[in-house]
Amino acid sequence: MTNVLTLLRRELGAYFASVLGYVVLMFFLVVMGVTFGVIVGYLNRGPTQLTAMKIMFSMFWLPSLVVVPMITMRLLAEEKRAGTLEMLMTAPVTDFEVVFAKYLGAVTLYTIMWALTGFYVLILQRFSVGSTLDLGPIFSGYLGVIVIGQFFIAIGLLASSMTNNQIAAALMSFAVVFLLLIVLNWLTYLFPSGVLGKVFHAISSFDQMEDFQRGIVDIRPLVLYASGTALALFIATRVVESRKWR
């Protein structure tokens, strides 16, 4: 466990030692900030069913699709390319510790990124007139974006373990996230009912996010994403180990 913490600190350090961490945060904050501004302007026109944070959370697909490949592409691919994996794996640490620390590093950056949007909640709380903010759906909404995001990060890490080219890793994770997120969402429209429709609705992140931002915390998506992450991390560890039996 101490090894994981040491490696995790290194991972976070690496994000902010290069420009990558800052660029990712900036990209995210610009997009979300503009969106927030527009939403607040729109909601000022008159009463609606929507809340500002609900709309913010429904933007979750954008960071999943763009930010996740950006923050996961270098994790293992760069270590392999630079040969530093050899330094790492000849220190007394296990392959899984390395993979897990890298996963945690990316999840931490992703969480920090979303945590910064907490300022929007503070702004809303301070300036909304005549109504109090319902914090329940906001918490469950944050839970939703993190739970879904961490799974895609595990996918991105898996992609990064398979190549020593960062661009290839980024494109691979983009493609897989696109399939699991966007294409699956389209499929729920193509199959509104029937067995297939039920399956697609059950595993579509958009449907699940709909629940989360409403304040519903369903155990099923939590289990689904936790298992998905476990599987992806397991395979990534195996891929790292594959140098031993290839």
Binding site: T2, N3, T6, L7, R9, R10, G13, A14, A17, S18, A82, G83, T84, E86, M87, L88, M89, T90, A91, P92, V93, T94, R243, K244, W245, R246
Partner: protein, 326 residues
């Protein structure tokens, strides 16, 4: 310290190591010598547990590297080929990170990091970013890292590659000093390096060990090169005939040079030194002698000879196989 038995490593279609066995005793500095692609790095990677062997047994400090991989890694300081480092970290930061990974407790870390910084001459650059350092300094950072946990065994893969002559000298001196306290296995394809730093040489070629001995013994037994050069003033053909007749001379090669002297290159029979007899022959004939020297056999000669013999043997085996097929 190291015990390798019948080590074989096959990559898809390529046999990188073929039944390698050797031992390294505590306190030795052993040089692993071989051309590129001979299997040096592969052996080192197996010793450090980065990759497993296809077959064979490897023990480091009495521990099996496959079964007790983590325990072995704690006892080995390793500097891989090309010395990969996190170039975005500062020197002291990197060493702190590595010492934590190697499980050094905080108190020991505080003591040990300044120690290795000092030992490797990195004090002045400890706050610089590794990526901004020159190659020589980076090499020292790699060495410092290998030394952090005071390992029983240091494994250094090409520690002086890519350095300038001054840096090479510094790193070699450092290795020599370290040899007083650590067992060292280093690989190189630069021969003077082994001659200068190592107590023992293991020559490896095409995944097989061809020789293992002290540099001096290797030179004595093989006696490769060791040509005798003689320059005498006398009638060319007579000089040639008489010198060829000298006892213990294998073959000679004479050449007239401008000023009436004959330059003769003589190959002595293995393990003999006919210089005295050459001198007597010259004196007996009343020629003038202005040079009689024996070239010092270098490790380079030995190396070239051994690998050439091996290549020729390999060629013969192939030839045989071909004729069998026909």
């Amino acid at each position: 310290m190291i015990k390798v038995e019948n080590l074989t490593k096959r990559y898809a279609g390529v046999t990188a190591l073929n039944g390698v066995s050797f031992e390294v005793q505590r306190g030795e500095i052993v040089g692993f010598l071989g051309p590129n692609g001979a299997g040096k790095s592969t052996t080192m990677r197996i010793l450090t547990g980065f990759i497993p062997a296809s077959s064979g047994r490897v023990e480091v400090a009495g521990l099996d590297v496959f079964e007790d991989s983590l325990a072995v890694r704690e006892r080995v300081g390793y500097m891989p080929e090309n010395n990969p480092l996190y170039t975005d970290m500062r020197v002291s930061e990197y060493l702190k990170f590595r010492s934590k990974l190697k499980g050094l407790p905080r108190a020991e870390r505080r003591e040990r990091i300044p120690e290795v910084l000092d030992l490797c001459g990195l004090k002045d650059v400890s706050h610089r970013i590794i990526g901004h350092l020159s190659k020589g300094y980076r090499q020292r950072v790699g060495l410092a890292d290998a030394l952090l946990a005071e390992p029983d065994l240091l494994i250094l893969d090409e520690p002086t590659i890519g350095l300038d002559p001054v840096q090479i000298r510094q790193v070699r001196q450092l290795i020599k000093d370290l040899g007083k306290r650590h067992t060292i296995l280093l690989s190189t394809h630069i021969l003077p390096e082994v001659e200068m730093t190592c107590n023992r040489v293991i020559i490896i070629h095409r995944g097989r060990i061809l020789a293992s001995d002290t540099p001096e013994n290797l030179m004595k037994t093989l006696n490769a090169g060791g040509l005798i050069q003689v320059e005498v003033h006398g009638p060319g053909s007579e000089v040639q005939a008489k010198l060829r007749a000298v006892e213990d001379v294998e073959s000679i090669n004479a050449k007239m040079i401008e000023d009436g002297y004959v330059r003769v290159l003589m190959t002595p029979k293995s393990g003999t030194d006919p210089r005295e007899k050459i001198y007597q022959t010259v004196v007996r004939n009343g020629w003038t002698l202005r040079e009689l020297t024996r070239a010092r056999t270098t490790l380079e000669d030995i190396f070239v000879q051994i690998t050439r013999e091996e290549d020729e043997a390999e060629e013969e085996r192939r030839e045989e196989r071909r004729s069998v097929l026909r």
